[in-house]
């Protein structure tokens, strides 16, 4: 075991595959000598040269679009957008090209590509640099999507993402980049569609992912003092979704709270809540409660930003509402 930051976990996995497989390359804005806006590719330019770690102009459309073309012709590109907020600029390339090409062409083409999308708030970066936008792309058939919460998952999921024959959306949370955690000496691929129980409990299930895993665990500790035994599930993989893990937990606790940093209206946890209300209704002992960001653009002012985001106390309150 060793310690690694979340950013290092992502980087390490990319390095491993790049060392093994010449067809893997990285491109995006300032990913080269600059090392990426958040330092994720730091040192990779020096290790792999500018031919494999390529700086692009500010052209998000063609960053994704070129990844599509490169993936269709034998490469395994990893494209980085500097912020998930800029998905908007490459949305056609993601939703109408990457996601649909295999299907439109009758399954006769493969697009092994990874798109890295740093998201999340908490850095006082305001409305256009702080969004969480998981629901847009999980809604698009043809894309897979993962969102790790720690270094080991980040590394393992990145290996799987690179190995996958389909376009994979790899969300990363900016606030987690510097967070250290334990990683196995040998990094192994983590299969998609496998959630992880981060804390076992019998009274209520909290379903969450990414940064909110930590908030949920903190809430669980607080609730423990009140005699409420919380199970916390880290989805890790948004699509494919680990329905079995959810089913198992719900059958045990019969109560569900979902937490994510997306604005609540239309967030991806709404999809999961709807699925639960549809498929596991008879297991439920109470409302399916969601905790998300308020339905507003992320405000700049620290006091406002801190308020609109889901907080530990919001999770505690949500759990208590159904106990």
């Amino acid at each position: 075991m060793r310690k690694m930051t979340y950013a290092e976990g992502i980087r390490e996995a990319m390095r491993i595959r790049m060392q093994e497989d010449d067809s893997v390359l990285i491109f995006g804005e300032d990913v080269g000598q600059f090392g990426g806006c958040f330092g994720v590719t730091a040192g990779m330019f020096e290790e792999f040269s500018g031919e494999r770690i390529k700086d692009t102009p500010i052209s998000e459309g063609v960053i994704i679009g070129a990844a599509v073309g490169a993936a269709a012709t034998g490469l395994k590109p990893i494209a980085e957008l500097m912020f998930v907020d800029f998905t908007t600029v490459g949305m056609d390339q993601l939703a109408n090209q990457a996601a649909k090409m295999r299907y439109m062409f009758g399954g006769k083409i493969s697009l092994p590509m990874v798109v890295r999308l740093p998201g999340g708030a908490g850095t006082r970066a305001a409305a256009q640099h702080s969004q969480s936008l998981e629901s847009w792309l999980t809604h698009v058939p043809g894309l897979k999507a993962v969102y790790p919460s720690n270094a080991e998952d980040a590394a393992g999921l990145m290996l799987t993402a690179i190995d996958d024959d389909n376009p994979v959306i790899f969300y990363e949370h900016k606030v987690l980049y510097a967070m250290e955690s334990e990683v196995q000496d040998k990094i192994e691929p983590i299969p998609f569609g496998k959630a992880k129980v981060k804390r076992e409990g019998k009274d209520v299930t909290i379903i969450t992912y990414a940064k909110q895993v930590y908030d949920a665990l903190e809430a669980a500790k607080i609730l423990e003092a009140d005699g409420i035994d919380v199970e916390v599930i880290d989805l890790r993989s948004l699509y494919p979704l680990d329905k079995e893990a959810l089913e198992k937990s719900i059958k045990k606790t019969n109560k569900v709270v979902l937490v994510s940093e997306e604005v609540k209206r239309g967030g991806y946890i709404g999809e999961i809540a709807a699925m639960i209300a549809e498929e596991f209704f008879y297991e439920l002992d109470g409302p399916v409660v969601r905790v998300g960001t308020l339905n507003v653009p992320i405000p700049f002012s620290p006091v406002l930003e801190d308020y609109v985001l889901p907080r530990v106390e919001d999770i505690v309150k949500a759990v208590k509402k159904i106990m």
Binding site: L25, E51, K54, T56, P57, S59, G61, V62, I64, G65, A66, A67, V68, G69, A70, A71, A72, T73, G74, L75, P77, D92, Q93, N96, Q97, M101, R102, Y103, M104, F105, G106, G107, K108, I109, S110, P141, G142, K144, D165, N166, P240
Partner: protein, 326 residues
């Protein structure tokens, strides 16, 4: 440049094949056999033909909503094309794509595309891939005049230029984006002027002259293969039909159409063949008959082929996940 007669004849056959395929598609659309959007290339055959005559089987092309001509020219199989237009299981895309989404990766055809401008990016990506893999391939990106106002044109040409990607950008300037004539969608006359913005060569040629297209694109292909980067080649041409089947094209004059009919690329080529004794009238008739029966075979194949099973609708979204059926 001296072209062998055989090559010239091949180009002629290709143009006629496109024309006949599309005239058939037009009729089949009119009677309701083919549904959806069908954008015909009739009148523009010299562009795809002349351009693709420079390519090898392992070279790439990206296409547009008006893709039949490109696909035929890059060696696409008209039986599989016709079956796709019918939405049949035996079609290029198992019926999932239709006219706007035909692709054939084995022939380097990276797909027709329903999104105007999408091909620019994909071509840049193919170019990147070629350069990265250090092969001798090139990619031709076909696109219309109006698509040069789309975001992707700009981003893809800029990227291709700074990375010196082996891409040839072939603009089919037929003077219109649906109902909007070129003078109403951009303030320039020659789209090749836009090459300046990327510091790459830009040329304009008569798109109804297959030799002119062949030559200009040939030079660009050579540059690309020699790692000298992309070129923008504008081919001025015209579409005879409406934007899509069903469009009466009221936005343009009969005179304009007639002027262009005078410059028909196939007629011109036929004249050239006869004048230069490359083919006799009999030979031309023979070609026409042969192609007619090829097309009829394709139509029969398409008609007789089964529709896909509805269960197939949930396959091919992913390589490994089959979605839930109803």
């Amino acid at each position: 440049m001296k072209l062998e007669n055989e090559k010239i004849l091949e180009m002629y056959v290709n143009m006629v094949k496109i024309r006949k395929f599309e005239e058939e598609a037009m009729d089949l659309f009119a009677v309701g056999d083919i549904q959806g959007f069908v954008h015909l290339y009739i009148g523009e055959e010299a562009v795809a033909t002349g351009a693709c005559a420079n390519l090898n089987e392992d070279d790439y092309i990206t296409s547009t909503h008006r893709g039949h001509g490109h696909i035929v020219s890059k060696g696409g199989d008209i039986k599989l094309m016709m079956a796709e237009l019918y939405g049949k299981k035996t079609g290029y895309c198992k019926g999932k794509g239709g006219s706007m989404h035909i692709a054939d990766a084995t022939k380097g055809i990276l797909g027709a595309n329903g999104i105007v401008g999408a091909g620019h990016d994909i071509a840049a990506g193919a170019g990147l891939s070629i350069k990265y893999r250090k092969t001798n391939q090139v990619c031709i990106c076909f696109f219309g005049d109006a698509s040069t106002n789309q975001s992707t044109f700009h981003e893809a040409l800029n990227l291709s230029s700074i990375w010196k990607l082996p891409v040839v950008f072939v603009c089919e300037n037929n003077g219109y984006g649906i109902s909007l004539s070129q003078k109403n969608h951009q303030a320039i006359k020659d789209i090749s002027d836009r090459a300046v913005a990327y510091n790459i060569p830009g040329v304009t040629v008569d798109g109804n002259d297959v030799f002119a297209v062949y030559e200009a694109v040939g030079e660009a292909v050579n540059r690309a293969r020699k790692q000298q980067g992309p070129t923008l080649v504008e081919c001025k041409t015209y579409r005879y039909r409406g934007h899509f089947e069903g469009d009466p094209a009221l936005y343009r004059s009969k005179e304009e159409l007639e002027e262009w009919l005078e410059k028909d690329p196939i007629d011109r080529m036929e004249k050239y063949l006869l004048e230069n004794n490359i083919a006799s009238k009999d030979k031309i008739k023979e070609i026409s008959d042969r192609l007619d029966s090829e097309i009829q075979e394709a139509v029969s194949f398409a008609k007789e082929s089964p529709f896909p099973d509805v269960g197939a609708s949930v396959e091919d979204v992913y390589s490994d996940i089959v979605e839930e059926v109803k």
